[in-house]
């Protein structure tokens, strides 16, 4: 097992509470549309030597306190560490109960950055084909056990998020009070991640043509947005280190994503982050292409704050509406 740093979650900051086991044990988990496994730390978790306190800094599942625990003898490996798979236990998310949900327990702390995470584990909401070890996803469990009215979930991110209220995940439908206008739907182009085709990208009034040969956009609910790095040639440093003059923000252009023929603009007030008078660009660069070689875009939290986003597993499509 080669542990890879959990750099892919450096910018994750929205999470919610679930319970596992009988009696229920509570955990804060990242609802991650970019992975498909459910895992939490356990009392078997060993801290890495590089951890600041040599102690695991999160809520840990205690098998001995669950009346139904049994190790099923399997393990799976995620990019940031090995997980032991446990026999199905009840998973509770508010009033939703999945009676038999397989999940993973960390047997080691998944690398140094995780120590600093405010969430304990991850509940993957990607497609089942992405699940390491072939374990059923939590969403599959909810659907198979008829826990949801519709095979849909949707995210609302508040524009003024706080620790007590950062937004909502709605399981089983959409909340029409959280968006306005129509929902623009786009078909999922690959049933692995939540990925759609990006037709065009415009800066100000000008179409760039950067997607004339096709672009793919992933819609994660777990991190910062990113644009293909080649569009930022010459900068030579991550976008998040670009300091901007806050007084100039109003003069910056609107950027517009065209998805399935619909224009989805992002105003500078959305993509420039103002932290107590210090402004930075809230968009990172990525240098990795999509699986078909087309430029990969990531529509992260900056985008989701502006657009209520619906993930429709029944029709394999993603919907966007003005938040």
């Amino acid at each position: 097992v080669v542990d890879e740093p959990i750099t892919n979650h450096l910018d994750s900051s929205y999470f919610g509470e679930i319970s596992i086991g009988t009696p229920p044990q509570n955990f804060l988990v990242l609802f991650d549309t970019g992975s498909s496994n459910l895992w939490v730390p356990s009392t078997y978790c060993r801290a890495l030597p590089s951890s600041p306190s040599r102690a695991v800094n999160h809520a840990k599942f205690q098998p001995n306190e669950s009346s139904t625990f049994t190790y099923n003898g399997q393990s799976f490996t995620l990019s940031y560490g090995r997980k032991l798979t446990w026999r199905p236990l009840p998973l509770q998310i508010q009033s939703i109960t999945v009676t038999n949900q397989e999940f993973g327990l960390s047997e080691n702390e998944p690398t140094q950055p995780f120590y600093y995470a405010d969430f304990d584990g991850i509940l993957g909401m990607g497609y089942p084909s992405l699940a390491a070890g072939g374990t059923p996803t939590a969403l599959q469990g909810m659907l198979q056990q008829n826990q949801l009215t519709q095979p849909i979930f949707s995210f609302y991110f508040s524009r003024q998020p706080t620790y007590s209220y950062g937004g909502e995940l709605i399981l089983g439908g959409v909340d029409t009070q959280l968006f306005q206008g129509d929902i623009v739907w786009a078909p999922v182009t690959q049933e692995l991640y939540w990925q759609v085709m990006l037709d065009e990208f415009a800066i100000g009034q000008s179409a760039t043509g950067w997607c004339s040969q096709g672009c793919q956009a992933i819609v994660p609910a777990d991190g910062a947005p990113a644009v293909p790095g080649q569009l930022r040639s010459g900068r030579g440093r991550p976008a998040d280190q670009l300091w901007l003059n806050c007084n100039e923000v109003q003069n910056m252009p609107t950027i517009t994503f065209v998805i399935n023929g619909a224009q989805l603009p992002l105003y500078p007030s959305a993509y420039v982050l103002n932290n107590n008078g210090y402004c930075t660009l809230g968009i990172e660069a990525t240098y990795l292409p999509s699986q078909n070689g087309q430029p990969l875009w990531i529509l992260g939290d900056v985008f989701l704050k502006e657009y209520y986003t619906v993930f429709d597993t029944g029709n394999n499509r993603i919907g966007f509406a003005t938040s």
Binding site: D11, S13, G16, L28, P161, E168, G172, L192
Partner: protein
């Protein structure tokens, strides 16, 4: 059949590592790319 789960927004790992003074060294050691988690090349 429809459940609303309140999300909390906390500081990101990046922000907390920065506050702890360990981010720069970490990023020098490990190249970060936001698309790294999307492992298209791996055979899932």
């Amino acid at each position: 059949g429809m459940v609303r789960i309140k999300l909390r927004k906390a500081k990101s790992i990046r922000e907390k590592m920065k506050e702890a003074g360990v981010l720069d060294d970490y990023l020098k050691k490990y190249k970060h790319d936001p698309a790294k988690k999307y492992r298209f090349s791996e055979d899932y």
